[in-house]
């Protein structure tokens, strides 16, 4: 699972395919296509998913249950519960949770601010497209961008030190450790929140506000009784998406953090390529299994919430 795949999950809920709620009026029932034809259109995508997601995942995870010599074992899976490995799961969880919450809150505020702009206006279109790009701006490029600006020899670091006498790294080289990941991940988390949450905010109908006013409500009751209940599933869904996005990120961390493999994807790398600690290749499969379990739980939560959200987005 990579950063690149995350937005694929959002394309379906961006309002492109209106789904009819049973209560929303007499829906035109399309005649269902019969037989094989029904599945034909799905085949390319299904094949793609099987070849490039399902099979590799199954192969990777099954290695976790075997020794190097091919004997069945639970040792690798039990290895997840070693203190050092558990600590990396803890770090991964922390980095994902913090960047998801901060990203979601900041992103939602940006969306709210954007509501004040014209829907078809240049400003909103610009921020929308910038967000779409930045949400994908992860990996080695992003790590390098941060190293070049606020790394120990970065441009901004040097200017701050020489002109203002401020030492960015007075408390240690934090950029290259877990705290650095928090800062760097937010760079793509906030824009991702903007592109996933904006459609939900745009789905708030002006008529609801009018109905609220007509019935004697205040702006306060509008938010507490209408907007927040309507937006909550979408907000939490987006939050989970951000969590999953950070949890599965690898390249950014790999380029930035080179000691101690503090998060799970880096542990997997270590298990696969180490030239000093040998014989842990199959441990990588067990670590992947641990990650998949977390991701499945999160994605299940996301899909449940998403199905509740979509009924308002018409």
């Amino acid at each position: 699972m990579t950063v690149a795949q995350a937005p694929a999950l959002t394309s379906g809920d961006a309002g492109a395919t209106p789904r009819r709620h049973p209560l929303s009026g007499p829906a035109q029932v399309r005649p269902a296509r019969r037989g094989v034809g029904k599945f034909l259109g799905l085949t390319p995508f299904a094949l793609y998913v099987i070849l490039f997601l399902a099979i590799p995942t199954i192969l990777a995870v099954t290695t976790g249950f075997f020794t190097e010599d091919g004997a069945f074992t639970f040792d690798n899976v039990m290895g997840i519960f070693a203190p050092t490995v558990l600590a990396t799961f803890g770090n991964s969880f922390l980095v994902s949770a913090v960047t998801a919450v901060v990203g979601a809150v900041v992103g939602a505020l940006v969306c709210y601010a954007l509501l004040g702009t014209k829907a078809e206006g240049a400003l909103r279109a610009t921020i929308d497209s910038i967000s779409s790009v930045l949400a994908q701006f992860g990996g080695v490029m992003l790590a390098f961008a941060f190293i070049a600006t606020i790394g120990t020899q970065g441009l901004v670091t040097r200017i701050l030190a020489e002109v203002f006498g401020v030492d960015l790294f007075a408390s240690g080289p934090w950029l290259y450790q877990v705290p650095g990941l928090l800062v760097v991940y937010l760079y793509f988390q906030v824009p991702l929140m903007v592109i996933t949450f904006m459609p939900a905010l745009e789905g708030l109908k002006i008529t609801w506000a009018e109905a609220n006013a007509t019935l004697g409500g205040t702006p306060f009751t509008y938010w507490t009784r209408i907007a927040i209940p309507v937006l909550a599933p979408s907000f939490i869904g987006s939050l989970l998406l951000l969590f999953a996005n950070a949890f599965s990120s690898y390249a950014t961390a790999a380029a930035l953090v080179s000691q101690g493999s503090p998060i799970v994807p880096l542990q997997i790398r270590g298990a696969l390529i180490s030239e000093t600690v040998l014989g842990r290749e199959n441990m990588a499969g067990a670590l992947a299994l641990g990650m998949i379990v977390v991701m499945v739980v999160v994605m299940w939560g996301y899909s449940v919430l998403q199905s509740r959200t979509s009924r308002w987005q018409k």
Binding site: P173, S258, S261, E275, L278
Partner: protein, 367 residues
């Protein structure tokens, strides 16, 4: 790129065909993949002819600025007219073996390996035995008796530093001082990279420990981290050039390579025990260019290439024989200085035990 590769394949095929058609009968009779010496080909000339008929050599994990491999590869190409395809220069020893697995049967698979000792001993099934012509010049303790793998070069674990911004360290404890704030880096993570593992070994013996247990070394780096001096950045030529890593523990040949290009970069070794570790040369038993792989061995252990290691700051395995026969590049050796002092190298058992210790303690020590 694909077109280029296609052309290369066709060209190689053409060379092979023409070679068969003309006049190297002794080469075409020999199964190069099981030859264990040049004699099996019918002599060095026949080996050269067979290798030239293949026209290609796939090497892997050989950076140009590592132990002078750039010049060594270039000289091989020039001398024999064989194209050296250098894949993935910066990968680890374990990934070399993984590449041999993944690319098995393809013409891009690596022909030869250059491996750290732990991976070498773990991967014997991947190697084809071969003994170079000057086999006797390689000390017995530096080679597997059938030629499955052979030590090629070593260096000592050294400390490189930017003399323009930090003072010269004369002991490990110096590095704990405030002059080295956020400055001290390793070449990789010791639970993954051999050079960083060796740095922990050096710190261990310098701290009075033994190679049986790297804990004193781990504790030193923990102190370094607590002092705010440890920089968790993977040191490369680029980080040294940019000034990001001001003090780097690395093999002497890597630090010397940096010193040759970066103004102010100097290399020092601490008084006391000197930590060394040979790299190993081996032939992939599934080498797509088996004759070229064997010619590469002959070339690497020739005085010419062994001297190039010295130029690059590494100590070649045949150095004693080079000195005895007077073929050593004395100018280069004078610049490098002799490898002297109490030399220590972990055994395979010690390396394995310490790998387990590092896996358990390293992340916590510097986290």
């Amino acid at each position: 790129m694909r077109h280029l590769a296609g052309v290369a394949v066709i060209a190689a095929a053409a060379i092979t065909l023409s070679a068969c058609a003309t006049s190297t009968p002794e080469a075409s009779d020999v199964d190069a993949s099981i030859a264990t010496s040049a004699d099996d080909f019918g002599g060095m000339d026949a080996l050269i002819a067979a290798a030239q008929a293949e026209g290609q050599l796939n090497v892997i994990a050989l950076p140009d600025n590592w132990a002078n491999y750039g010049e060594i590869k270039a000289l091989f190409e020039e001398k024999y007219g064989i194209t050296v395809n250098s894949a993935d220069p910066d990968i680890s020893s374990a990934e070399e073996i993984a590449a041999a697995d993944n690319l098995k049967g393809q013409d891009t698979a690596p022909d030869v390996f250059d491996l750290g000792t732990a991976v070498t001993l773990d991967s014997l099934d991947y190697f084809a035995p071969y003994q170079v012509a000057n086999w006797d010049e390689i000390p017995a303790e530096n080679k597997e008796e059938t030629g499955l793998y052979v030590n090629d070069y070593t260096g000592s674990m050294s400390i490189g530093y930017d003399s323009n911004s930090v003072p010269k360290p004369t002991s490990l404890d110096d590095l704990l001082g405030s002059d080295y704030k956020g400055a001290v880096a390793l070449n990789g993570d010791p639970t993954q990279a051999g050079a960083a593992f060796a740095a922990l070994g050096l710190a261990t013996v310098q701290e009075g420990g033994t190679l049986d247990d790297f804990t004193p070394g781990i504790e030193f780096f923990q102190k370094l981290k607590q002092a705010g001096n440890f920089l968790p950045v993977d040191a490369t030529g680029a980080t040294i050039a940019s000034g990001e890593t001001k003090v780097v523990f690395d093999w002497s040949y890597n630090n010397l390579a940096a010193a040759a290009t970066v103004d102010g970069w100097e290399v020092t070794t601490l008084p006391g025990a000197v930590y060394t570790s040979f790299y190993n040369q081996a032939i992939n038993k599934d080498a797509p260019n088996p004759a070229a792989a064997r010619l590469w061995q002959e070339f690497l252990y020739s005085a010419e290439a062994q001297n190039l290691f010295i130029v690059g700051g590494a100590y070649p395995v045949t150095i004693q024989s080079l000195q005895d026969s007077g073929t050593v590049d004395t100018a280069a050796l004078d610049t490098l200085g002799e490898l002297k002092g109490e030399l220590v190298t972990p055994t395979a058992e010690q390396a394995e035990a310490n790998a387990a210790i590092l896996a358990e303690k390293w992340a916590a020590a510097i986290g």
